[in-house]
């Protein structure tokens, strides 16, 4: 077996050195009646070529985003990632290293985490960011739990513009932990009245901007009302590129900012692995979940970095920890950091402008199709359209024409008639004018 260096001679000699006759003697603690006699009922070993054939055949059945005009967003976005990023994250020293528990020999990981934290803090205009969460949705769940700890209250108010699956994560966790959640109804246009839901029992208000439906939301009045009632504003985003062009949540009064960082450096991967961004204000840092990297010096006075404030964490605090999280998204952070370092603010701003411009172009084209109504007034690279037909059917028909057109809201919000005809569409820098024209043309045919 190509991954196993021992040969049978080694094994025999080693068993003799240990003083046992067979390897099974080493497994003697496993009671006889539950020890497996034969092999598992699975195929036997396969060569590299065989594995490659089988998995390639599976992969080939899928339509990859890069092979068609592609407009699906809704929490994960198709962007172009520079080749440098993927090369660097596959460096053995990054790829095959563990969590940096021995800082003297993991300064590479620690320094990029420090760069990552600084980048995220600056992007969101917050004081501090952690070394990442699993993804935006689990980060949102953790943010709500953190708000409960900070405020010593347990009622969260969720905006109807929050990604339905993020909402489900928060609701599930809250229900299990015995906390309360008020989830507002779906809000495609960003016109809900969330202010009246905030009271003295509220621990936090969770608002996504750009919303799941693409609408940009004014966070300032929500922050103000929340703070009047000593509640926290948790600002969520799923498209981090938007921060290149829109006002960051930090300057709008957010207390915790949590978002999905996949767009920068990370591929679509059918939903994971991604990278959760998590930032807050200085005064709450000790209530933060997740790993934190901090600057220090070594015995010779040289600057170095370490994991710090670990007294918040499970391996020290056990049942008193701020979270049970152990790993973060190390390698996805690295991809994010490298891509962001390549872009810089000059590149990020430009990328964000192109994304927005592409969405504006698409909006113009689609709103020219008979029967299509655009629901959003202010948006970044994504918006929602109302169709004269059931959106899920339209998407299938467009897929048959080779166009992956967006997300029918009903896929995540089944059973709500008001949402059945809604389609969330995104246009990033990867779409050409031809792609958009093909989409509009095909939509015209399908709706005709």
């Amino acid at each position: 077996m190509r991954y196993l260096p021992l040969n049978d001679t080694d094994r025999g000699d080693m068993l003799a050195r240990i003083g046992v006759k067979s390897v099974d003697e080493l497994f003697a603690d496993i009671p006889e009646d539950i020890r497996l006699k034969g092999l598992l009922d699975l195929p036997k070993r396969a060569s590299e070529m065989q594995v490659e054939r089988k998995l390639s055949a599976m992969a080939a059945k899928n339509v990859s985003a890069g092979s068609v005009p592609f407009f699906v967003g809704a929490g994960a976005y198709k962007h172009h990632v520079p080749a440098t990023v993927d090369h660097l994250i596959q460096r053995s020293e990054f790829l095959t290293s563990y969590t940096p528990y021995q800082p003297e020999i993991t300064q590479g990981t620690l320094q990029y985490l420090f760069e990552f934290q600084t980048q995220v803090a600056r992007l969101t205009a917050m004081d501090v960011a952690n070394a990442s969460m699993y993804d935006g949705s689990t980060g949102t769940g953790e943010a709500v739990l953190m708000a409960h700890r900070v405020t010593r209250r347990n009622k969260a108010v969720l905006s109807g513009g929050l990604h339905p699956q993020y909402r489900a994560v928060v609701e599930g966790l809250s229900e299990m932990a015995g906390d309360k959640v008020v989830s507002l109804p779906a809000d495609p246009t960003g016109t809900e009245d969330i202010l009246s839901q905030i009271d003295d029992e509220t621990s936090c208000v969770v608002v996504q901007s750009p919303s799941f439906y693409g609408q940009l939301i004014d966070l300032k009045p929500i922050a103000e009302k929340a703070h009047q009632h000593k509640a926290l504003l948790i600002a969520v985003f799923t498209e981090v590129v938007s921060l290149g062009l829109i006002e960051p949540p930090g300057t709008q009064g957010a207390d915790i900012v949590v978002g999905e960082g996949q767009s920068i450096g990370n591929g679509l991967n059918f939903g994971g692995p991604y990278v959760g961004l998590f930032a807050t204000r200085q005064q709450y840092v000790r209530q933060m979940p997740g790993r934190l990297c901090g600057e220090t010096v070594d015995a010779e006075g040289k600057r170095g970095f370490v994991l710090t404030l670990s007294t918040r964490e499970q391996h020290i605090r056990r049942d008193k920890a701020t979270s049970n999280i152990c790993t973060n998204s190390g390698l996805c952070c690295l991809a994010f950091t490298i891509h962001m370092s390549l872009l810089g603010q000059a590149g990020l701003t430009k990328l964000a402008r192109i994304n927005h411009a592409n969405a504006v172009k698409l909006k113009k084209l689609l709103s020219g199709v008979h029967g299509v109504e655009v629901l959003n007034s202010a948006y970044f690279n994504e918006f929602t359209i109302a169709l004269p037909k059931v959106a899920a059917d339209v998407v299938e028909q467009l897929a048959e024409r080779g166009i992956l057109a967006g997300l029918p809201v009903s896929r995540l919000e089944p059973g709500n008639k008001d949402l059945a005809n809604l389609l969330v569409v995104a246009s990033t820098e990867v779409n050409s004018d031809e792609d958009r024209a093909a989409f509009a043309e095909a939509l015209k045919e399908v709706l005709a």
Partner: protein, 530 residues
């Protein structure tokens, strides 16, 4: 002085061995000092060429950003050099033996990376039409099959994003099952040897954690367990047990433990962190386990990546299977179906909710399946056997000099020493670990598990050759002898030869500096200004 054929000197010059120049750059040959991107990048620079057409129309309402972001950019060669230089300050499996107990630092095959990057896996969107991703459902279903056969369990919740997330998922399934049965027990039993994530997970769900005692050999004390169960009769939700445990020992009485727990109307959560010791040798389903997460990044070789991303699918017994969270792939006569919402569930499917957006760590599923298929049933068993063989080989190589807390008996995939062999040497477990760094080894896991003093937990994995183990054992023996001879300097200041000496962790925590900030401009004294 000897010369080579070109007439160049082949020996060192006059300076002698001990001379070490203080360099202008602070670099030491290949060992480079590297600033932060914020200290040398420029706000004007970008290393990404984008289309010139930026568009002139804005539909951003009043939300356009006005302030600078403050993110420097790097040209491509600058970025390449910066991150390559950083990488060289990292220890990695690919560069040396990495015996972190419980972390399973085994070889990460590059075939896995290649497969995960096939556009049909890496470039598909979680919410594109299901009809356009049949191969993705097939992959998830196929991996689920391999996991279920390996564990002999009924169902698997694929979506948890890491081991601790899997624990949360398993415990949520247990809580959901109790609720469905009209019960609301408040206590979860956790032995002291458990990973910190176990009590943290139980507490997160509002459970009270009650410790259960271990016997002298580190395994659960059955009598103590009976007593604890009796004491809290009717109020126990479950037990969280790692098997093989964190002392590297298999819980011989695991079936009796499971029976006791089941009789108490509670569930058996098994922390699967150490499943890699028994794949192909025993199946958790035969041990009475109700839920167990599998760290794909430990047992099935997906890369640790400097701390993630992980992946922690949870296998479930028949009693818990109905509560598996959304989403899941359903096998029907017509083929595979993706169930993403409550509305799409059928009779008998009672998902407790959702752990994460989308479908979990697809990129890790591909890697894990690629690994499992490569090994096959015979290779998987061989890998477990070699892992256990290697750990025992290290054990017998060191047991006369180091101290085994539970006596000379076979261990599973990792061997646990305590620090009694260092008694009166003035050397601590930490010092010893740091001295290993100077020898070119990553230290073992230290001070965990908490049940033995100054723990050193060594897991060589099946990826090490006999020659590599021989050198490791010889090195460890040399270190032990050195400590016993009183050569404390080798330990107390170690590491001497790493990119950094010991770092001030106390100072870092006292006044945390968690991001880079522009240094204050140097005070200009009037004299200097003149």
């Amino acid at each position: 002085m000897s010369m080579n054929t070109q007439g160049r000197p082949t020996a060192a010059g006059e300076a002698g061995d001990s001379f070490r120049p203080k360099t202008f750059t602070g670099n030491r040959g290949l060992d480079m000092e590297e600033p932060l991107i914020f200290e040398f990048g420029s706000l004007e620079t970008t290393g990404v060429d984008l289309d010139e057409d930026e568009g002139a129309e804005f539909e951003l309402g009043s939300f356009r950003r006005t302030a600078e972001i403050g993110l420097p950019g790097l040209a491509e060669p600058e970025a390449m050099r910066h991150y390559v230089r950083l990488s060289r300050n990292n220890y990695a499996i690919d560069s040396g033996l990495y015996p972190l107990g419980s972390c399973t630092m085994k070889h990460n095959p590059r075939l896995n990376e290649k497969m995960a990057r096939l556009p049909g896996f890496g470039d598909i969107h979680p919410l594109q039409p299901v009809s356009s991703v049949p191969g993705a459902l097939e992959l998830i279903d196929e991996l689920a099959h391999w996991l279920l056969v390996s564990t002999h369990m009924t169902a698997v919740a694929m979506s948890p994003k890491a081991g601790a997330h899997g624990e949360l998922c398993g415990m949520m399934a247990i809580k959901a099952a109790h609720t469905a049965n009209g019960r609301d027990p408040k206590i979860v039993l956790v032995p002291e040897s458990a990973h910190g994530t176990n009590p943290a997970t139980a507490a997160l769900l509002g459970y009270k954690v009650v410790n259960i005692d271990a016997k002298d050999d580190g395994t659960v004390d059955l009598d103590a367990l009976k007593k604890t169960i009796a004491e809290h009769e009717g109020n126990i939700a479950g037990i969280m047990l790692t098997n093989p445990n964190t002392c590297g020992l298999f819980e011989r009485e695991v079936k009796q433990i499971a029976d006791l727990i089941h009789k108490a109307d509670a569930y058996f959560y098994c922390d699967g962190a150490n499943f890699n010791a028994i794949v192909g040798k025993a199946r958790p389903g035969d041990l009475g386990v109700d839920a167990m997460h599998i760290n794909l990044h430990k047992t099935f070789s997906t890369p640790h990546g400097g701390g993630g991303p992980g992946s922690g699918p949870v296998v479930l017994s028949a009693r818990l299977a109905p509560y598996a969270p959304l989403p899941f792939v359903r096998r029907t006569q017509k083929g595979l179906e993706l169930v993403e919402t409550e509305a799409a569930t059928k009779d008998g499917e009672k998902p407790f909710g959702r752990m994460t957006a989308f479908h979990g760590q697809m990129g890790m599923y591909v890697r894990a399946l690629s690994y499992m298929m490569s090994h096959g049933s015979d290779g998987l068993r061989q890998a477990s056997e070699d892992a256990v063989l290697n750990a025992n080989y290290v054990r017998v190589g060191l047991q006369d000099l180091m101290s085994l807390p539970f006596g000379e008996r076979p261990c599973m995939h990792e061997v646990l020493f305590d620090d009694s062999f260092l008694k009166d040497t003035g050397v601590t477990t930490l010092d010893f670990a740091k001295a290993m760094i100077d020898e070119g080894y990553h230290p073992m896991t230290m001070y965990f598990p908490l049940v033995v003093h100054g723990a050193m937990l060594i897991e060589p994995t099946e990826s090490e050759s006999r020659a590599a183990l021989d050198l490791f054992v010889a090195t460890m023996r040399d270190l032990v002898m050195s400590a016993k001879r009183g050569e404390t300097e080798r330990f107390s200041g170690a590491p001497y030869l790493a990119p950094r000496r010991r770092l001030d962790e106390t100072g870092a925590a006292r006044k945390p500096v968690l991001k880079w900030t522009e240094p204050e401009p140097a005070q200009v004294t009037p004299a200097a200004a003149e």
